[in-house]
Subunit: 298 residues, 2 copies
């Protein structure tokens, strides 16, 4: 049986089942970051992300932006747990024919984003490969009271996103702003029940929250903020790599967030009982099943 | 200019120069692990290693052993700093045609070694690529008093290795024992001045210690423990992926280590003044320059 038959999430599930962890692991595989015992008031966060030529970028993309993206994805994972990014190590595989200038540009994109987010790049590994591959592993820190997981959504919660969705393939996937500042603002000022970053597409990542939280949910087509670059609604719902925050808060907290200036956080739906399932109310008022669709490697 | 012209170490040096880190980084890029502030008595160690099909293993190698190797390399890095491995995240890129059984075998090799060394695998990332690629990032912990870097070798120190060298391409590179237990025994019972794991070959890794410590060194051909699998002396000196410990201690400590039962740690030479350079005394008594040679990706 090929891995394409069980798919990316099937593979991850198999992998997770084979692993045992000790009591210092508050949350292992299955959220945006692992959550590990650190000190009395803090947890350490730990995440990794690999980007591969031909999958996550093309040979024609700007090399600085490719380097930037490699680091930005991990920053976004730390943000999704409410944390502060701290340290990163980078593995870089390149073809022998790569020029020094090209390698410098990849580095520059990474280093300049690291500086902006006060992340220390503290080590790395260089290998040879047929195409460019970058893996970033990052640790971060989060106050115990500010930790947010995918699993905390409660029935009646309002679902928010931090920005427009869809069309990221037209450039945003290389230039997105990791929502670290926004996530820290949220966890420091509101009680955020569940959060994830939208990497696999809204329907799929909402699905992750619903499944982890054992709840259902509804979103309103008219409220989904479709980006100018999106081809259509489906693109905004499924295309992935928006790297916006998707989070849920109680109705009371939601009222305060909606009143914020700039309205950068947009309510798009509500958490329901698990039996309700996952649905979208169309502009015509009709209810449709929301089938998780989006990017999967396999 | 192509990266092959400045080489792997030239690239790393360029990368290091472009990075700035804050005061919580005790040692950034340039040792086996990064060393980071943790608590009053401990540092955190952080390392990453990528293995690539066609470079670090072939399609015909046993998949369990490939998974094992991916994790073992990072364990060896934590050992080289005197630390205890704690948490790992794994990025795995595979072709679509990979079977579930193959993916399971890679996982099994990794998970069973993780269990043996009490390392928690806490997360990962799965991607598609033309060939198999595995990146492991690992954190560990080390008591401040037990931290060992490459840079602590002192003139007059005796240089030791933890096992036989050479011929690892015949199998050891997939089955080597990460010397965590041995390194912990050393740091808990002796004052180890400098340590590294032999991944690039004895001459090259000794070169890393000499350069970081700003000293010279001499090794004795007759004392180099050449493995049965090694083709010849040059293979033992340069071939790499032995993953044995190479370390230096004062003459006084050396006497105690030489007396240990089993004689697993073998003295091979001495640390000299920087002006002496790096030399080998042949079996014929003649002094030769020891040019660092061994595995480099570029």
């Amino acid at each position: 049986m090929r891995i394409t038959e069980i798919g990316e999430f099937g593979l991850i599930e198999r992998f997770r089942k084979s692993i045992k962890t000790d009591s210092s692991v508050i949350k292992g595989s299955g959220d945006d970051c692992a959550v590990l015992a650190f000190d009395k008031d803090h947890y350490q966060l730990f995440t990794c992300d690999m980007i591969v030529e031909g999958q996550d970028f093309t040979r024609r993309d700007n090399l600085r932006l490719i380097g930037r993206k490699a680091l930005a994805i991990s920053l976004s994972d730390i943000a999704a747990c409410g944390g502060i990014p701290r340290y990163a190590v980078v593995s870089l595989a390149m073809p022998s024919k790569t020029t020094v200038e090209a390698a410098d540009n990849i580095t520059k994109g990474m280093v300049s984003l690291a500086r902006e987010y006060k992340v220390n790049i503290v080590g790395g590994d260089i290998s040879k490969a047929a195409g460019l591959i970058i893996d970033v592993a990052m640790t971060g820190i989060v106050e115990k009271k500010n930790l947010v997981l995918r699993s905390g959504a409660k029935i009646g919660d309002i679902v928010f996103v931090s920005g427009d969705l869809g069309g990221s393939i037209r450039g945003k996937h290389l230039k997105f702003i990791p929502r670290v500042k926004e996530a820290r603002y949220l966890v420091e000022n509101f009680k955020i029940n569940a959060m994830i970053d939208i990497s696999d597409g809204l329907t799929q990542d909402l699905g992750h929250i619903l499944e982890s939280s054992k709840v259902g949910g509804v979103i309103y087509e008219s409220l989904v903020p479709v980006s100018k670059e999106a081809k259509n609604l489906e693109d905004a719902l499924c295309a992935g790599e928006d790297f916006e925050l998707l989070f849920t808060v109680t109705r009371k907290e939601a009222k305060k967030i909606i009143k914020l200036k700039g309205a950068q956080f947009k309510p798009i739906g509500e958490i329901m009982d698990k039996r309700y399932g996952s649905k979208m109310i169309g502009k015509d008022g009709r209810e449709k099943n929301l089938v998780p669709m989006g990017f999967r490697h396999f």
